[in-house]
């Protein structure tokens, strides 16, 4: 596309079927402890497949 460039991302809609294994890290456990964010986490399953 001439005017739109799409960055490669995980399709969240597809993850309805592939996600939910629950092995990911608990988000507040790492470096914050005073805020909640899940965006900076990685998917344990995706990492295992890499």
């Amino acid at each position: 596309m001439k005017r739109i460039k799409t960055i490669e991302t995980r399709d969240l809609q597809k993850s309805v079927k592939t996600g939910g294994c629950g092995e990911c890290q608990t988000s507040c456990q790492s470096a914050c402890k005073t805020s909640c964010g899940v965006a900076n986490q990685q998917c344990e399953k995706c990492l295992g497949e890499k």
């Binding site: 460039k5 996600g19 939910g20 507040c28 456990q29 005073t34 805020s35 965006a39 900076n40």
Partner: protein, 459 residues
């Protein structure tokens, strides 16, 4: 739902429900902004009028751009509908397992930090150290309630956990002795102020801890103004050499230098850069959370300054990366390809369900920030969860449970935000801490912009 914004010379469009990120030129940016509320003829005439002085923007060009937008919509990458709202509330019925404990091995501290939410480690209660028996029972509780989950997380927390290092070592050995037989893999985190770090602790942590979180607020004068010893002296000179030694010996294992910024250092990027100057590369800096009346509380007048600071940080991190000297900032970590699935994005941190805090006496709370609040006592490690009402309240905490989040583009990045912050700001765990939301949204905008810039560099 989409979110459009301009940052660092990029026009960025986020498609909220698919997670797609697009970088677009000015014309596409404008058309996408009109697309949902105007028909094709209206868009054509509006764009011809706006770009009248630009001969390259013809009717055909505008039509082609609209076609591209429609194609992306068909592919599920733009204007994607929300398909998750029903999914979110099925979570009420889910059977959750416990996968992480925050072990408060010491409700006491050897520092007297002004802004400490834990009230100098005491959590508004008595000073205490956790016994091995309570810690062991907590681990047994975790294993028993973890179902088929393999990776279990234990954070040694306080107060200052190294004031009870013997129990930390003993309980780690206990976990290692049973993890194979139980089919589990323990990941330990140590969160410390650094005062008691020595080679024994460092060797232990480098052998056993998946991650260590080391508290440093940045520049000496900033750090020392808040993080003081019980005698009122600053702790910077004591801890910085220890942290440097620790990190040097840690090799490539995970760590974070973690700071807190307040109204007194709204130029907090200088503290992050100071951490980098000290040789640290894995960095986290959090806005202070405290009652609005506190002298160091962040104010709404600070917000534009903080937004600018986050932009300065993002741009400088790109520069450092280009120069081959990258630093990591925890809140800008964003894995667009292998990030969390939609379940995680909706359900959030898992406090009160997957994650609990354990006091030195074995009491269970939804997370460390609720410890000491009797209304949120869940039970204890001996009897399990005896107050299911509190747990059910947390089961409902998700990105769709908060009315304020309904129209927010960032809800699948924060999951509706921190329940403790919401509770302290509004009195309800399903409220929102609006000030935190403003900062969070800015950080995600910066993090996505960095991904866009990195994608351009990679090409």
């Amino acid at each position: 739902m989409i979110h459009r914004y301009k940052l660092n010379g990029y026009n960025i469009v986020l498609d909220v429900f698919s997670g797609s990120v697009h970088v677009v030129d000015d014309l596409a940016y404008d058309i996408i902004g009109l697309y949902e509320n105007a028909d094709k003829d209206q868009i054509l005439s509006a764009m011809l009028e706006k770009y009248v002085s630009d001969s390259s923007i013809t009717e055909a060009e505008i039509s082609d751009c609209i076609d591209d937008i429609e194609q992306l919509k068909t592919e599920g990458k733009l204007f994607t509908a929300d398909q998750y709202a029903d999914l979110a509330f099925d979570f009420k019925a889910r059977n959750t397992v416990v996968k992480a404990l925050c072990l408060h091995v010491a409700h006491t501290c050897n520092l007297n930090c002004e802004y400490c939410f834990a009230s100098q480690g005491k959590y508004h209660g008595d000073r205490a150290l956790m016994s091995f028996e309570v810690a062991k029972q907590a681990i047994d509780f975790l294993i028993e309630n973890s179902g088929s989950r393999k990776n279990l997380e234990v954070d040694f927390f306080g107060g200052e956990p190294l004031m009870n290092f013997e129990v930390v070592k003993e309980i780690t050995a206990y976990c290692r002795s049973i993890e194979k037989e139980k089919g589990k893999n323990f990941r330990f985190t140590l969160t410390t102020n650094g005062v008691l770090l020595d080679d024994e602790v460092i060797d232990f942590a480098n052998r056993e801890c998946h991650n260590v979180v080391l508290s440093l607020d940045g520049r000496k004068e900033v750090h020392d103004s808040k993080r003081k010893t019980v005698n009122g002296k600053g702790s910077y000179d004591v801890i910085v050499p220890k942290f440097q030694h620790f990190v040097e010996k840690r090799g490539n294992k995970g760590y974070y230098i973690r700071g807190t910024f307040t109204h007194n250092n709204t130029d907090f990027t200088n503290d992050i850069f100071h951490m980098a100057d000290l040789g640290f590369t894995e960095l986290s800096m959090e806005p202070v959370v405290c009652p609005p009346g506190d002298p160091y509380a962040l104010t709404y007048d600070d917000l534009p300054v903080l937004f600018e600071q986050y932009e300065i940080l993002a741009k400088d991190m790109l520069r450092r990366e280009k120069e081959g000297k990258p630093i990591t900032f925890y809140h800008y970590m964003l894995d667009l390809n292998s990030g969390p699935c939609i379940y995680k994005r909706i359900s959030g941190c898992g406090s009160g369900t997957e994650y609990m805090a354990v006091t030195p006496w074995g009491d269970l709370y939804p997370c460390h920030q609720f410890v000491g609040n009797p209304d949120y006592l869940l039970g204890n490690v001996f009897d399990g969860v005896t107050n299911p009402d509190v747990q059910n309240e947390f089961k409902l905490c998700n990105a769709y449970a908060r009315p304020d989040c309904k129209e927010c583009w960032a809800k699948l990045y924060c999951s509706g935000g921190c329940a403790a912050n919401a509770y302290h700001a509004t009195g309800s765990v399903t409220g929102t801490y609006q000030y935190g939301c403003e900062l969070f949204k800015k950080r995600i905008e910066c993090a996505i912009m960095m991904k866009v810039a990195q994608a351009e560099t990679d090409e």
